[in-house]
Amino acid sequence: MPGNARDTILSSLRRAPPGKVPDDPPAERVIDSSGLVDAFCTRFTAQTGIVHRVGSEREANAFLPEILKEHGIRRAISAPGLPGGPDIRPQTDFSGRRDFTEAIFNDADAGLTAADFGVAESGTIILSFNRDHARLISLAPEIHIAVLSAARIVPTFEDALSQSRYIDHPPSHLVFVTGPSMTADIQGRPFKGMHGPRKLILILTE
């Protein structure tokens, strides 16, 4: 019975004698002297991520059709609240999970989402998911376009934690994205886009 296993395991663990515990503190990392946004962009692009820097959100909206065209995107699906357009279907367009899943797997060249934070220490963007932001948008299509304000770039993951509610109000799902999907599992030959997107594009607004 499940209950028995739990109790057996816990009581067994509790009966164990104490061990020696070293007290080493978290290790310091080298401080990057370049500007925060530059540091972030350098690391982001080092993983083959593509950054488009624009002035304002309005500029981002205007720029988006060009970006779609440049990367050959004919149909995109977006999380709501993001720039729209003739080729962009918001998540709310779909009547339910089945419809949405069908579309995200088969009818989308790209997924468009917001990012919560950019983390400069590793060129990572943080995505949190909720009723307005479905998981597969940034995963199933070959291209993922994320929109982020430069004001949301922080030096470290701890900074993102302290500026968010991730600990006291954890989302059901949270992902750190550092570059596109990749593998080198066959003979060590690397390539992008094994399961997730092969291209990661960031629209960075001021």
Binding site: P2, A5, R6, T8, I9, L10, S12, L13, A16, G19, K20, V21, P22, D24, P25, P26, A27, E28, R29, V30, Q91, R97, F100, T101, F105, E121, S122, T124, F129, N130, R131, A134, R135, L136, L139, F157, E158, L161, I167, P170, P171, S172, H173, L174, V175, F176, T178, S181, T183, A184, D185, I186, Q187, G188, R189, F191, G193, M194, H195, G196
Partner: protein, 483 residues
């Protein structure tokens, strides 16, 4: 997974003669070790970084029972189900029952070493549930029915021709293909279909955070994210030592794990789950089942010496550092765990008598211990297993030692306890071996010495030992001069 730990010697001999194995062992571990070193350069003091990881893991283990309780409490509060399994059978049955209750006939799996340990795939298949490994390397080894060659690249040694053959056979491709990228993309297409059809996604757990009841997975491909997004049920199998207290500690360990494993500052995807999908969310699992599996670990935990082996975070850095692994690759270790981490974990899970080669085939060079970000002291553990094995330890299933060995040891102790005997024995050995000496070198000798001389010479034994020469040396001054 079939346990082949008793075939270490045969498999090692075979692998050392295999051209593909040799080619990849020259490439992969070296490359990963270099990347690891480069990635650690962003720590002011890389050695301090490793010590901090060791401290987090030791602390987590010290508080394991209360951390597990806190984790469970928070996971339940988030809407997840938590199932404690004493052993592999219990875990497998729970997962199969859950699948059947929910009408699941297809399962998509993310890489999980503990599920390999538990033989989950075989159990699911036997229960008539179609199970697909979705990590490219695991997918290939699943189709070929092979164990993993390396933690990071389970199929990295397998030549494209073999992969093309098996892909052709299983309908992943419909004409032969020799390009690794095209093969990979074919697997992507094939597995995409499985993600869509899967009623259940099964993952392992890299870390479980007690303060929020969160599960963390680390990957580069995105298949684990798919397992957590497309199917309606998610099952995450966690070995009970994976829990840490806070998100901050998890972040420290994530940095160390990614740098140690592949030399990345952060892997492509780190996904964190707190409960199943919330009300109104479009995708993600409606049910999240967390299986906490013991399978011998609470027994291992009870002894503070063996407890150290539970600090491992499965980064694989020790494989790349190990000069023995570098000659033989992953197969000889005969199970889900290879390299030095396999050498310290498998004997505890399978018993010492079934895994003697694993803890004996080691020079105790210590390179693994020195780069381990989780504070595992592999040489110390291996010495412990050797000692427990000789002592026929019942708890660890030690084999004891042969009469011949016992006799030799007793004779050695006797000789070493009496300098006159010692000198006589030494002189006898030298005389015997020197019969085969020519021009100051011995190139062969019969019997037990064969193993040395098959590849190495030995200098001729000196006509006099040091202690004998010391008497003659005009400046030699005997024994008593400290007084």
């Amino acid at each position: 997974m079939k346990v082949r730990t008793s075939q270490y010697r045969q498999i090692a001999a075979r692998e050392m003669a295999d051209a593909h194995t040799r080619r990849f062992l020259r490439l992969l571990p070296v490359r990963l070790a270099q990347r690891r070193q480069a990635a650690f350069a962003d720590y002011v003091n890389p050695a301090a970084a490793i010590r901090s990881g060791a401290a987090i893991r030791a602390k987590s283990l010290e508080n394991l029972p209360s951390l597990l309780e806190t984790f469970e409490q928070n996971a339940l509060a988030s809407g997840a189900k938590v199932f404690w399994a004493r052993d592999a059978d219990q875990a497998n049955r729970y997962i199969i029952d859950t699948a059947k209750e929910n009408g699941v006939s297809v399962v998509a799996k993310g890489k999980s070493m503990i599920s390999e340990e538990a033989g989950l795939n075989e159990a699911l298949s036997e229960a008539g549930i179609e199970t697909w490994e979705t990590d490219l390397g695991e997918f290939i080894t699943q189709l070929l029915e092979r164990p993993p060659f390396h933690i990071v690249g389970p199929a990295i040694n397998i030549p494209v021709e073999r992969i093309s053959d098996i892909f052709l056979e299983k309908g992943v491709i419909d004409s032969p293909e020799s390009d690794p990228v095209r093969l990979g993309l074919s697997a992507r297409r094939f597995l995409r279909n499985r993600f869509r059809r899967a009623g259940m996604g099964i993952t392992g757990v890299n870390m479980a955070v007690a303060e929020t009841g969160t599960l963390i997975n680390v990957e580069n491909e995105g298949n684990i994210r798919f397992c957590k997004s497309a199917p309606r049920i998610q099952v995450s199998v966690m070995s009970l030592e994976k829990v840490v207290k806070t998100t901050r500690e998890a972040l420290e360990l994530l940095r160390l794990l990614c740098r140690s494993s592949t030399g990345q500052l952060m892997s492509a995807y780190v996904s964190m789950d707190c409960g199943p999908k919330k009300e109104g969310e479009t995708d993600g699992p409606e049910q999240l089942h967390i299986v906490i599996l013991d399978n011998g670990r609470s027994r291992i935990y009870k002894d503070p010496v063996t407890r150290n082996a539970l600090q491992c975070i499965r980064c694989g850095a020790c494989l790349n550092a190990c000069p023995v692994y570098g000659q033989i690759g992953g197969y000889p270790y005969g199970w889900a765990y290879s390299g030095p981490m396999g050498q310290v974990v498998s004997p505890l899970l399978l018993g010492l008598s079934a895994t003697r080669d694993l803890f004996k085939s080691c020079t105790l060079c210590g390179t693994c211990r020195d780069i381990c970000p989780a504070g595992v002291d592999h040489p110390k553990l291996m010495l412990h297993y050797r000692s427990r094995d000789v002592a026929a330890d019942p708890l660890l299933h030690g084999s004891g030692s042969s009469l011949f060995e016992k006799t030799m040891v007793a004779a050695y102790v006797k000789a070493a306890s009496h300098p006159v005997l010692w000198e006589a024995a030494g002189r006898g050995l030298r005389s015997a071996l020197n019969l085969r000496a020519k021009d100051g070198v011995i190139k062969g000798a019969p019997g037990v010495f064969k193993n040395w001389f098959q590849s190495r010479d030995l200098p001729e034994g000196p006509s006099r030992s040091f202690r004998s020469l010391w008497d003659d040396d005009p400046e030699g001054q005997g024994d008593d001069h400290a007084r």
